[in-house]
């Protein structure tokens, strides 16, 4: 698992790649918490390159979400691949995290200013 980030106005777009499981969930959590610390409005995760997420990875997401809520930072997950989407549904994470079909949709909902920055050439 690797993750790159992009600052968009007062929000952070995080792009993790690969598989998130017991072996790298802590790295993922660190990347998430760093993004939450940087953001003022929202952290949006572009999950389009995540092939699989285990319960340990979902736990990292929950910790980041709780940390963000305490700081007034929203967390959204966008562009889930079909398998990951199924895992979210089976684990009921789609009920406790804000999930979006696309990154643009997530930014539009959570931080329109960040969307403008995302769309800027």
């Amino acid at each position: 698992m690797e993750a790159s980030q992009r600052l968009l106005a007062k929000s952070v777009l995080l792009l993790p790649t690969g598989r998130i499981d017991l072996s790298n969930a802590d790295l993922f959590k660190d990347a998430l918490l760093e993004a939450v610390a940087m953001a003022k409005v929202a952290v949006v995760l572009d999950f389009s390159r995540i092939e699989y997420v285990s319960s340990a990875g979902l736990r990292s997401l929950m910790i980041a979400s709780k940390t963000g809520t305490a700081r007034g930072v929203s967390l959204g997950v966008a562009a889930l691949q079909p398998i990951v989407k199924e895992i979210f549904t089976i684990s009921r994470f789609h009920l406790v995290l804000r999930c979006f079909e696309t990154v643009r949709e997530a930014l539009a909902k959570l931080d329109p200013a960040a969307l403008a920055s995302y769309d800027a050439p």
Partner: protein, 319 residues
């Protein structure tokens, strides 16, 4: 070994209401209309072949009690939830009240839903029966005796006719019990709880209920997977969704279907049986969880397939 489930519901007995039964009957009648179901055989075949389990039956309502039939003359049970009464009625009917029997009972912990069947456990009333109650839990005897005492129950423990013994087990140490070898393991649960691995003739069953697993505690997860290693059957507390165990119900001491699949995959277990169902879930919901868990196993499979089932009162699994 043969596993017989007498009580599968978590937290408290959950009987099917008249309204729920009526809904099932109405739905089945509508589905079977104009199908010529004019004999019991045709109706039974229709129920088996065209109705889902949730439509034609129920997962049941008794709290935890599982019988492990090791093939020997003595009985072996896991937990004394309300399902223990059903088990006892069957045992008495089989042998008659005058034939003394020996009952070995492993108790996971002493929360009420796991011991509430004991005051109604008929063999305890009958002189000549021998009842050996085992647990790694320190307060086993205190809890069982306290339950059979005023003001909770009118029959005092001392008035019970059977010979009743309490045996404290040490976690990690194998014991010969009821024709099998039993090893306990501590679990994360308020007030303590213990899993039991039951082995006989190269087959193994793990009874693990009322246990929460923190997937960021790698050492604990690996140790638990070691306890489940290549088990033929894992009876697993899957009471909540994973999301619930990490949010609203974190530290409530229970686990999820997702964790069950992951642990069994790590352990290369053969069969995961979802157990200790949430009382607020109806049959359709439990069946849906079973279907989703089967799907989860398919999309996350790494080695050999893991069979998935969901426990119901009356289920029998051959191991």
């Amino acid at each position: 070994m043969r596993v017989i489930f007498w009580g599968t519901r978590g937290s408290l007995p959950t009987p099917l209401s008249a309204r729920s039964v009526r809904q099932k009957v109405v739905a089945a009648l509508v589905k079977g209309a104009h199908r010529g179901l004019d004999t019991p055989e045709k109706a039974a075949a229709f129920c088996s072949e065209e109705l889902s389990f949730a439509e034609s039956a129920t997962f049941g309502g008794n709290s935890s009690c599982v019988q492990i039939d090791t093939g020997g003359p003595e009985y072996l049970l896991c937990d004394l939830g309300s399902g223990a009464r059903e088990f006892a009625v069957g045992a008495i009917a089989r042998h008659g009240p005058a034939a003394p029997q020996t009952y070995h009972i492993l108790v996971s912990h002493v929360h009420w839903d796991h011991i509430m069947g004991f005051p109604f456990f008929v063999p305890a009333f009958i002189p000549g029966n021998r009842i050996r109650i085992y647990s790694c839990h320190a307060k086993l005897e205190q809890a069982i005796r306290g339950q059979n005492a005023a003001p909770c129950f009118p029959v005092e423990f001392g008035a019970l006719g059977a010979q009743i013994e309490f045996i404290r087990l040490e976690p990690g140490r194998p014991y010969p019990i009821g024709g099998a070898t039993v090893t306990g393991k501590a679990q994360r649960h308020g007030g303590d709880s213990y899993a039991y691995r039951i082995e006989k003739d190269g087959k193994s069953i793990v009874y693990t209920t009322d246990s929460e697993h923190k997937m960021d505690d790698v050492a604990a997860i690996q140790a638990f997977a070691g306890f489940l290693q290549r088990a033929d059957l894992v009876i697993f507390d899957s009471m909540y969704s994973l999301a619930d165990t990490l949010s609203l119900k974190e530290d409530w001491g229970h686990s999820s279907n997702v964790i069950g699949v992951e642990l069994c995959q790590m352990a290369e277990a053969r069969h995961l049986c979802l157990f200790h169902h949430e009382p607020i879930f109806d049959d359709a919901r439990i069946e849906k969880i079973l279907e989703e868990t089967i799907r989860l196993e398919e999309i996350t499979r790494v080695g050999r397939p893991l069979r998935i089932s969901s426990a119901y009162d009356g289920l029998v699994i051959e191991v």
